[in-house]
Symmetry: C2
Subunit: 565 residues, 2 copies
């Protein structure tokens, strides 16, 4: 099977438990023995991994007895052809004995039909090693948030459906609804920005600088192999309040720079633009006002598609005059720094646009403030940056990691943070339309996790999933109660300590466990140590051992931990 075919299979198995749908069939068996599936499939194929692990639980006779793949089974055409063509299914599937086959089918249906061992489509579990990476990334980001005096809030995972209605444009179809079980009509949150605006309006807050890190839900077609899921973390920092122009905006840009520099995941630039500049350009080029948002949404695709395609969308789909599109094309390909702003301020078409001029004034201030804050060198004024969401009203920005750094992603330039100013959203929730101006940034945290994970794997010092400092081991039999007493003593002193759950574990196994799990110290007891009221403290990496009195043990351990830190 080609890599692409494996990806198709993985996508299928992300929705279905088995090749043939929700029940195991001969199709699974055939695929299994075809040799096309690696015995330990790569982590980039999580659903194939899940399937392979699950199939390994069937005995040979159970596999033989699986029912045929029937036409009624849920299997999409692409995969069906793939299975048939690659594996000569039809030949192998001919039943030897119809009666026997049927019996087997019933058995395995009755039995295996119950065990749909998978997570919902577009979601996944996170194992301890992955969680350790996440905690590390989160803690770095939190430390920067705290640097700015931000506070934390939390909102429910679902909102009244009408809170979300009319906020996301076309994407509203991706909202997860809860079943109407009598009562309110609810939907899972789609992002953290709309709940934040609802929170600010509901509590009549006039100013707040808050962060919120939580999972959001989108019924998108998941591209899980590229790290895109239906359930994923967002990590938002926003400043609400009526303040001096561009000061909170500059702080957001500074914060993006601080997070990315602290995470140390490679070189990055922060692209900036302004919705008023885009509107000014559209107006000056002759775009009718009602087409501003659709054309803006077309420009947004410039980071993924070439200009020709974007132009085609403008002209063919959105009915823009080709010459107008061409004029827009002249502008959106521009990028630079302050000198570009100055040039465009005097541009013949834009001179008369109040919107564009207001945008230029803002960006000049942003450059000035960024210089004082020490992050201006990361800024690029990119006229092609548009940002997808409708609610932005002012400055917009997006941080991208420079190409060729992410390893394996063939030079993709990855967007890892984005945001902007949205001054009208809170007003949409206020009965009197009273609004609170806001500006904020959202980190593409799942992408940052993935990059951090690759970075950690490339380095030798792997992240430990536990924090255990001491392993309590025994050199001979009958030491269980002594080990428990030591655990009690160490824990009371605040020292992280584990021991074996076996009554009489083997010494070598215990030392090996400490080594495998990176536990820096072993406290070792045998009969003579107990009699003499001492223990041995062993350094796991140097294997050096010292004898310590029981009542000095916690002091010694703490000293050693401090020295090592």
């Amino acid at each position: 099977m080609t890599e692409k075919e494996l990806l198709i299979l993985d996508g299928h198995l992300s929705e279905y438990s088995y090749v043939g749908g929700y029940l195991p069939t001969q199709a699974d068996f055939v695929l299994l023995k075809s040799g096309h599936i690696p015995s330990d499939p790569p982590h980039s194929l999580p659903s194939v991994r899940r399937w392979a692990a699950h199939m390994a639980s069937f005995s040979a006779s159970e596999l033989e007895a699986l029912p045929q793949l029937k036409d009624g089974c849920k299997i999409d055409e692409q995969l069906s052809n793939l299975v048939k063509n690659n594996l000569n299914m039809e030949k192998k599937e001919a039943p030897k004995n119809a009666g026997e086959q049927k019996k087997g089918a019933q058995n395995s249906k009755g039995k295996s039909g119950k065990f749909v061992l998978k997570t919902p489509k577009g979601t996944r579990d996170y194992n301890p090693a992955e969680m350790a990476v996440r905690r590390k990334v989160f803690n770095t980001i939190y430390s920067v948030f705290h640097m700015h005096g931000a506070v934390e809030i939390e909102t429910p995972v679902f909102e009244l459906k009408e809170v979300l209605t009319g906020k996301y444009g076309e994407d509203s179809k991706l909202i997860y609804d809860l079943e109407d079980q009598g009562g309110e009509i609810l939907s899972l949150r789609y992002d953290l920005t709309v709940p934040f605006a609802r929170y600010v309006a509901m509590n009549k807050i006039t100013n707040i600088k808050r962060y919120h890190v939580a999972r959001v839900y989108r019924r998108d077609n998941p591209a899980m192999t590229r790290g895109r899921y239906r359930e994923f973390y967002q990590c938002d920092f926003d400043i609400a309040g009526q303040y001096e122009a561009m000061l909170p905006d500059a702080e957001c840009v500074q914060l993006v720079h601080q997070v990315l520099s602290k995470l140390d995941l490679g070189e990055y630039t922060i692209k900036i633009n302004h919705r008023k500049i885009l509107d000014g350009v559209f107006g000056a080029c002759g775009v009718p006002a009602e087409k501003f948002r659709p054309i803006c949404s077309a420009v947004d695709k410039l980071d993924k598609s070439p200009w020709e395609e974007v132009r085609k969308e403008m002209v063919d789909e959105k009915g823009l005059d080709p010459s107008v599109a061409d004029t827009i094309g002249e502008y959106v390909k521009l990028s630079g720094r302050e000198e570009l702003i100055e040039k465009l301020e005097n541009d013949e078409r834009l001179k008369g646009s109040a919107a564009a001029q207001a945008g230029f004034a803002d960006l000049k201030l942003l450059f000035e403030y960024s210089k004082a804050l020490g992050c201006d060198t990361y800024l690029v004024f990119d006229m092609g940056l548009a940002r997808g969401l409708d609610y932005y009203t002012g400055v917009i920005y997006e941080a991208v990691l420079k190409a060729g750094q992410e390893g394996g992603e063939e030079g993709t330039v990855g967007s890892v943070a984005g945001g902007g100013r949205y001054d009208q959203l809170v007003g949409m929730f206020d009965p009197k339309k009273k609004t609170v101006p806001c500006v904020g940034v959202s980190f593409g945290i799942e992408r940052l996790f993935a990059i951090q994970e690759r970075k950690d794997k490339a380095q030798t010092d792997k992240i430990r999933a536990t924090q255990t400092e001491v392993f309590v081991a025994s050199a001979c039999k009958g030491m269980l109660m002594e080990r428990l007493k030591l655990l009690g003593t160490l824990h009371t002193a605040g020292i992280k300590a584990e021991s074996s759950y076996k009554n009489n574990p083997k010494l070598l196994n215990q030392l090996q466990y400490a080594e495998d799990n990176g536990i820096p110290m072993v406290v070792l007891i045998g009969e003579s140590e107990v009699q003499e009221g001492v223990v041995k403290v062993r350094n796991t990496s140097s294997r050096e051992e010292v004898t310590v009195k029981r009542d000095e043990l916690t002091t010694v351990i703490k000293q050693r931990l401090t020295v090592n830190l």
Copy 2:
């Protein structure tokens, strides 16, 4: 209005936006001007608070123009009577001018109908001060989890519906289902234990010690004033694996003790019992085997109801012979320690019960191990402890704070943690029914938050919602760029620093801000300081000021922070 009536109103407003349903009516106006609602309703009435804040946004003329409360409006009978009786609604609601009234109604319906400013029933937002308390409690608990070498995992917020089916008995009706939007049928998780068992089975894990802290969902009738919500945190620690009897169980009990002692929220005991002992008692007393679980579930109510009511449930609802119930009553009121175990081991009825004897042997071991671990004095063997869930198979435990400590809750003895052994749950997910024995504990974290909050409020040192260390202030105009430069310098050195968003903030306001927010230091600049290349560093509490050279600033600040810590 009586306190009880206010509670009914709060319950109503937790589901509906307004007194009359989803639209504002004269009923809201009448209630507002009745004087029955305090201008700043207590936090124990969150929905009344939300409603009062929202109503304050209506102008007098808008209130006058609100439509009448119609019969079709959603208002439950109890509240309707309450409103009518207490507030003489009918008299006041007579329209003066039908035409005007109608116009007003349409306007406000068209306008206010959009703004349902509330969170879904049974849920709430958490503000920064509340989040700070949560972080503090979580961090304490995490530190104990790490003490035991536990790893963290994460699972999706929803599962395939069939994963949850058949695990919760009667409570299954409380599961939140997602709408069938084509694709898989999904439900929000009801607890963290079933997803954990699914995770262990799906990944063929033979042993793991993991914690998982996340929110779970139950469509229960929320008693929000008593801190019970439909969306709430669970905080679980579980040990899966085939180990020496009672060693992981003793570790769980020890961990409960460690968490509660570290949180320091008052005296507590850990009640223990064993499902096999309960089954042994039921068998010996003559309960038919098929009634073991229903009778166990009745015993579970003993912590909330007197024996007479529990007996009534056994006899009237569950058809138990009254004399059998009476015999059970003799046992379930017993509590004690090792001596009770020894006594019961030789009890005439229980002598012959293999189940009960196995349970006694386990508990004896548990006492012995707890002694070595230093937490046996907190244990009480309580024959009336049953735990609600069906899946427990061995030792069960529950930690309760002693009565009269929680302040305001009239001596309620609060359960703050509970758990036990469940050896068969993983097997329910394995195609071959292969199981992995598990034991675990879940902390009643929402209750712990509430108690911690009360404790913090009672103390003078309030928890800060931010961690800011330095406030950068200016003594005169035109210092904005200098302040930004200082922020850049301080942040680069890893110091948490904020400044005003105003171009020219007043000095006194800046110093006041630092004081109000508990920011320990202020860095102060004026024209002369800039000229001389120095700053003033001011201690917020002592108000003492020293002059420091710009290039020594971060060193000085760091020293002062270290000294204060």
